[in-house]
Structure formats: C-alpha cells, structure tokens
Symmetry: C2
Subunit: 447 residues, 2 copies
C-alpha cells in the first residue's frame, strides 16, 4: 500500500466520534478476516470530477483501480455508485462516458447526478413546474417523473414583456401580445443557466405572483411557492487556474435579489446534491440496489465516500455519518422507551426530509424500517487530484495567499458551518490509493 496521510486530527476525531457513539465503524471492520470471494458488507461512493477525470483528461489511477474492482467476468466485487454534483445532463450519457473512461461497465443505475433524488419527490410530479438550467432540462425533468414542465423559454414566449434587460429583447415597434400560460406550482433549479438576468427576473416574477406572472407583484404571498434546488456548489475547477462559478453562485444571486425586492428570505423546499443528507440517503439506496444485483444477502454496513472537494464530498459524507450516528442513538433510546425510533436528519442538513420517505420509483423506504436498514457509518476519503492538492497543504508559509475552500465558508447559506465536518477520515494521493486503503481496512487486500 502506498503512503497514507492522516489529515490533522481527522483520524483522532473520527475515532473519538465512534467511541462516543453507539456504533463503531472502522474499529468494527473485520480486519483479521479475508472475504476473498464473499460479500463484505461495504460499498463505495465515487465522486467523478477531480477523482476520475480532470476537465476532459482521465486521471490514470482511476483505470488502474477499476481493473482491480471487477472480477474476470467484469462483475464488481462490491457495490459501486458514482455520486456527482453535475447536472444539466442525463444519467445514461454519464454512464456511457464512465464505461469508456474506466474500461469497466457502468450502468445508469450506478450513476447519481445532483438532481437524481428528485425522483423521490413524487408529490411534485403531477404539478406544473418551472425548470431552470441549461442543456436538456425539459428531458431531464420528464425522466425524473415530472409530467407538466415549463421552461424559461416557454415563459418568455408566453409573457413577452418580462425579459427586457437585454435591449435587443425589448419590444421594438409594437407591443407583442401576452399569451399567458397555466399557473406554475413550483420552481426547480437544476443547474446554472445561461443569461442569468433572464432566469433571475422570471423566477422572481413567478415567486412574487404565485405562479402567474401576469398578476401584480405581491410580496405578502409568503412563504412563496416551493423552490427545489439541485447542486449548490459555489465554485469548481475547470481548465482555468482559478475556480469557476457554479450553480451555487446563481443561487446566491437569486437569494439576494429576492430579499432586496421583498425583504424576505428565499426559502428552499429542498436543497439537493452533496453535501445534503438527502443525496447520501439516495446514494445509499442505490448501493443497496447494487448489493442485491450482486446477490448479496447480508446488509451493507459501511460506506466509503471518495472525493476531492472538502466542502461537498468530505463535508457531505461526514454530515451523513453524523446523521447515521444520531439515527442509531435515537433508535437505542426509543427502543429502551418502547417507541418507534423514527429518524430525523441533523439540523445542518437543511433539506426537506418529508419527501424522501415517499417514492414513485420503488426506491423509498417506510419510516418504520428505516433505522434497521441504515448502515453503521460513512467514512470520508479525500484525494489530492482535484480541488484539494497537497501543494496547498504544504505551503503554509503564507496561507492567506490562496483562496481555498478551507479558509472561507463556501457552502450554502442554509448550511450552518461546522469546521469539524471538513476533516476527512483519510487523505490519500489518488483514487487507487483510496480503494486499496478501503479494502485493507476491510481485511480484504485487493489483488
């Protein structure tokens, strides 16, 4: 095994967390046993950008490691799911791209995009939803189960006087007629759009008119109609030297414009994508599906999340781990009192969990059996091939010289920031080292 780095007190923190809690994750791992052929009770969550690819270039370690993750029949040794905050595309496309890249078959049901959990929000599937983003947003929405979808472009055509920031879009000779449209019931923000001014203006119009932009603005309609947002990543690394704006920056604009006009806070019905708990909940369901496909009969007890972004991947995995610990403690306490042991997410999650228990795709779990199916814990493994690099860590002489995710809170407004959750369980060089570490922890060295 290659060099292993433990970040600051990360390991100590993790250990003490487990010691305080009722469940021991890594220490309960069967380090002396060797399941060379048998199900091992754990699953892997892989981030994509910065872990398997950088921009359009594959990271060499990725292919090497996936060679070891499948047997000679091309079957995965353990359940594997890919969890990315990318949206504005289809799972099928992403799966094909990964299959080619990793030279291992990846199926769409192994891929989770930031919007994938919307499949569980069936209470909105028959409502009229306005979707914001770029790429095939309408198709993405339909695939997720939404039946009545309105795009920003359809709204512009129905109400041609609304979008006038661009002088070239202002009515020229005669005022075009307003055709109107059915009332919008909810707004879904898939990802960063193009021409932010158009989406910002039209979304604020829809919120202030309760879905009928032909009505007068009315800020007493508060709380406004439901807003569901996917992917809150503020910044991401592309080919440029400095981070680039992500969907999180669009959300910052929308939140502040809404507040400036109405004096009220914009409220989210759900914030989806890493680091929200609802995303890991959904990823865990996909892992269970994969375990079943592999013919496993024993439950998946341990999850390992491998990522490059401390604020999304590490924070999210740790937040989910905290949720799991709370769930298990609650279960123990309630069982002692003879209660049902219903599981609540920790307050940092800031997501609507009312929705995650219902499902239109058979992926839901009932509240009654939730705690019995939950894994014992989720470990976070940080790789140095993306947003986070060892160079950053090894240049502490003037730490103020670089804007890093660590120094300033680049998370979403609605996440109360807990610096402890930025501490990964492990820091390794790359994804190959990460997977070797997991198998060693599990007492099952990779060949």
């Amino acid at each position: 095994m290659q060099r292993l780095k433990l970040w600051k007190g990360g390991w100590q923190l993790l250990k003490s967390t487990f010691e305080r809690g009722s469940v021991q994750v890594n220490t309960s791992a069967p380090s002396s046993r060797a399941y060379s052929q048998a199900p091992s009770g754990f699953g892997l969550l892989f981030d994509i950008d910065g872990v398997l690819v950088r921009g359009r270039t594959p990271i060499p370690a990725a292919k090497q490691c996936f060679k070891k993750l499948v047997d000679h029949n091309g079957k995965y040794k353990v359940p594997v799911v890919f969890v990315t905050n990318a949206g504005n595309c289809m799972r099928q496309t992403k799966a094909e791209h990964l299959s080619e890249l990793l030279e291992a078959e990846v199926t769409p049901d192994q891929v989770m995009l930031s919007h994938s959990p919307l499949r569980m929000f069936s209470q909105f599937h028959k409502k009229c939803v306005l979707v914001s983003g770029q790429g095939p947003v309408e198709e993405v929405a339909h695939n997720l189960g939404f039946e009545d979808v309105v795009t920003i472009e359809m709204l512009r055509e129905a109400y041609p006087l609304l979008d006038v920031v661009d002088h070239d879009r202002r009515p020229k000779d005669k005022i075009p007629p307003t055709k109107g449209l059915r009332k919008i019931d909810a707004v879904i923000l898939f990802g960063e759009p193009v021409r932010w001014e158009t989406n910002l203006q039209l979304i604020v119009d829809v919120l202030l008119t309760s879905g009928s932009p032909d009505n007068n603005w009315d800020s007493v309609q508060y709380p406004h109609l439901p807003v569901l947002a996917c992917n809150m990543d503020l910044l991401w690394m592309a080919e440029a030297k400095n981070p680039r704006f992500g969907h999180g920056m669009f959300l910052v604009c929308l939140e502040n414009l809404y507040k400036k006009v109405t004096g009220h806070d914009l409220k989210y019905e759900a914030l989806i994508g890493k680091p929200s708990v609802v995303t890991y909940n959904y990823a865990e369901l996909l892992i269970k599906q994969q375990a079943e496909k592999l013919g496993w009969t024993t439950p998946v007890k341990r999850l390992y999340a491998i990522g490059d972004n401390p604020m999304a991947d590490i924070y999210g995995a740790n937040l989910y781990n905290r949720y799991l610990q709370t769930a298990h403690r609650t279960k123990v306490q309630l069982k002692a009192k003879g209660g049902t042991g219903a599981v609540e997410a920790p307050s940092e999650s800031a997501v609507s969990h009312t929705s995650s228990s219902s499902s239109s795709s058979g992926l839901g779990r009932s509240a009654g059996d939730a705690e019995d199916e939950l894994p014992d814990g989720c470990s976070s493994i940080l790789v140095c091939t993306g947003v986070y690099s060892k160079e950053q860590e090894e240049l502490p002489s003037d730490p103020s010289e670089t804007v890093t995710e660590q120094r300033i809170f680049h998370g979403h407004r609605d996440f109360r920031f807990d610096p402890n959750l930025l501490q990964p369980s492990f820091v390794v060089d790359d994804v190959k080292e990460a997977v070797e570490l997991v198998f060693q922890q599990e007492g099952w060295p990779l060949e």
Copy 2:
C-alpha cells in the same frame, strides 16, 4: 394653476428645514415680483422616463409645457437640464430624441446621463479601465475622456478559459491559448450588461487578481482596485405591469458574489447617478453653463428637480438640498472662525468627492470658490405619470398589496436610508403642472 397636492407633511418639513437652516429657498423667492423678461435666478432639472415619456410613448403634458418654456425665438426662458439615470447610450442620441419629442431644441450639453459625471474623474482617464455594460460602452467611455479602454469581450478573447458557465463557451477539442492583456487599473460599471454570468465572473477575476486574471486569486489584495458604478436603480417601469430589473440588481449580485468568495465587502470608489450628490453637483454645473448661454449675469439660486421616482429623483434632490444646507452652515461657521469654508457632502452620499473638484473638461470648480457659487436650495417635485401614481396613494385599504418604492428600501446598500428624504416638496399630476407651480412660486406666472 391646477390642483396642487402637498404630500403628507412634505411642505411642513420643507418649511421647517428652511427655517432651521441659514437659507430660505421658497420663502426667499420673489413672489411679488414679475420677471417677465429678466433672468429669475432659478433652473429646472427634468427626469425623462415617467416624466416626459412612458416606454416609447410621449406624455402629452410634456409638449404643452415645453411650448411655454421657450420664447418665440425658441430660446429657453430659464436654464433647463435633463437628468436621467439611463446609460448605455450617447448624449447626442438622447438630445435628438428629446428635440423631436418636445418640439423644442435640446442640445447634448443639456443632457446628463448617469455616467456623465465621469468626465470629471480625470485621474482615471489615462488608466487602463475595464468597462461593463451593453450598447456602445467603448465609445461612451472614450467620449467621457477615457483613453485606455478594455471591454469584457476583449478580456474573454485574451483569457479564453475564464468564461465557462455556458457549456457552449467551454473549450471543445483543444485548450485555446491565453494571449493575455495589459494590467487593468480600474473597473467602470456603466449599466446592466447581457449575460450577467460572464461579467460577474470576469469582474470578480479582475478584482481578485488586481487586474491580471492570469494570476492566482488573492483576496488579501484588499481594498481591491477601484470600482466606479453608474446608475444604481434597482427597478424601473417599462411596458410590463411589474417593475423590471435595472443596473442596481446587477450590483446586488456583484456585491454578494464578491463577498461570498472573499468574505470582504465590495467597495465603490464612486457611485454615480441619482440619488448621489455627485450627480446633482454635476447637473448644477450644467445649469450654470446654460445660464451663461442665456446671458444671465446673476447666479442661479434655486433649483427645482422634477421626477417620478421617489427613491431616485426625490431622495436625490432632497439629499442634495441637505448637502447645500450643510455647505452654507459650514461656510457661516468657518467664516466666523476665519476658515476657508470647504464643503463636504453629507455621509449618506457615499460618493467620492475627491474627484469632483478636478476636471478635464473645464467644468470643475476649485474648492475655494465652491461655496460662493452654490445654489441656496433644491426643491423636489413628484409627478404621478411614472413609477409613482396617485392610485397607489389612494388605495390605502390594503397597502401591503403592492410592492412600492415606499415600503421596502430599494436604494443602494451604501445609502443609509433616511425616510425623511423620500418626502417631496410637492406632488403634482404631471410635468406641466410642475412647471406652472415653479413659475408661480417664483412670482412669474407662465403665459
């Protein structure tokens, strides 16, 4: 004279202000004299949108009133200047449009756009400035005296990896080379651009790299390089029923994104356009020029500002009036002590006044003679043909039903809001009634 409405305690407030101050404006007006042919010591500031036009439709009262404002030779009876927060266009174009509309000759030196005071910021004229806006921004900048102008488009071409929110703008097959550009010294925000995501990303890049977007982001370079912003109007009225987003909304986005990334407040070197004092200072200089053209030898002592927007026109005129009162009081106090009587703007103005005393266009005034030339006061007259309407005022049964400029502070972040400054000296139906009122106040009824 038509019906005259005094808004709430507006008149009382104005009277008591004058009684407290050392100067009496309206009460010192020569109400018993009739200057039917002679200079009358006052000038008129007209807002354009909502006062003279609505969208593209002329307001009938405007033409009627301008017929009375010029003599049979087409010469104005008093100095007239048009003060609009519009930008993204040229003074010449605006003057031609007004001449046609009002059937009275309007020259470019009677027109003041939101960016016009930048002519006085000569310390930036030889620096390399990045300009943001739409329309002929480069030409506008050159006309104002800026010699070294970089547009957002030029920056995109020089650094092709920066603007990647739009998937279609991301590099496709091979990474395009970075050509680079000279270092940028200051940023000038003329008006709302198109594709906000591009301007927001590139301006933040420029601020975080001290003008060289090829360098690493460096948030310790604070305060950042100078930012000058024109037109802070949050909302404006076009053909749509509800207000539309103005440049002020773009500024809200920029301020909040910069703060989210760096943790620091974005600082403005200057905020130009109504309601800032620097704009009224400049308008007053234009009024003096007009008085000279008319052959007046006596100073312009009273200004009347006619507008439709309480937050821009009324707040601005009142803020300027307060500035004038402070200036005169300071002069009296300092003269008593044998000082020079230098004039400082009130704290609400939030503009750099260091610049307004220097000039590259002959419009500047030296600090020494400033207070001697200043008018005694500026009255604000609100018309009901634009943003503000009597219907709004006469529907108090459920005042929360409409978002109005009065209920929520729609001014800029850097303006400490003083509700007293929203009280106009007078409320009238339209611009014709406004002008008749002024001439009656001045003891010179219009024929």
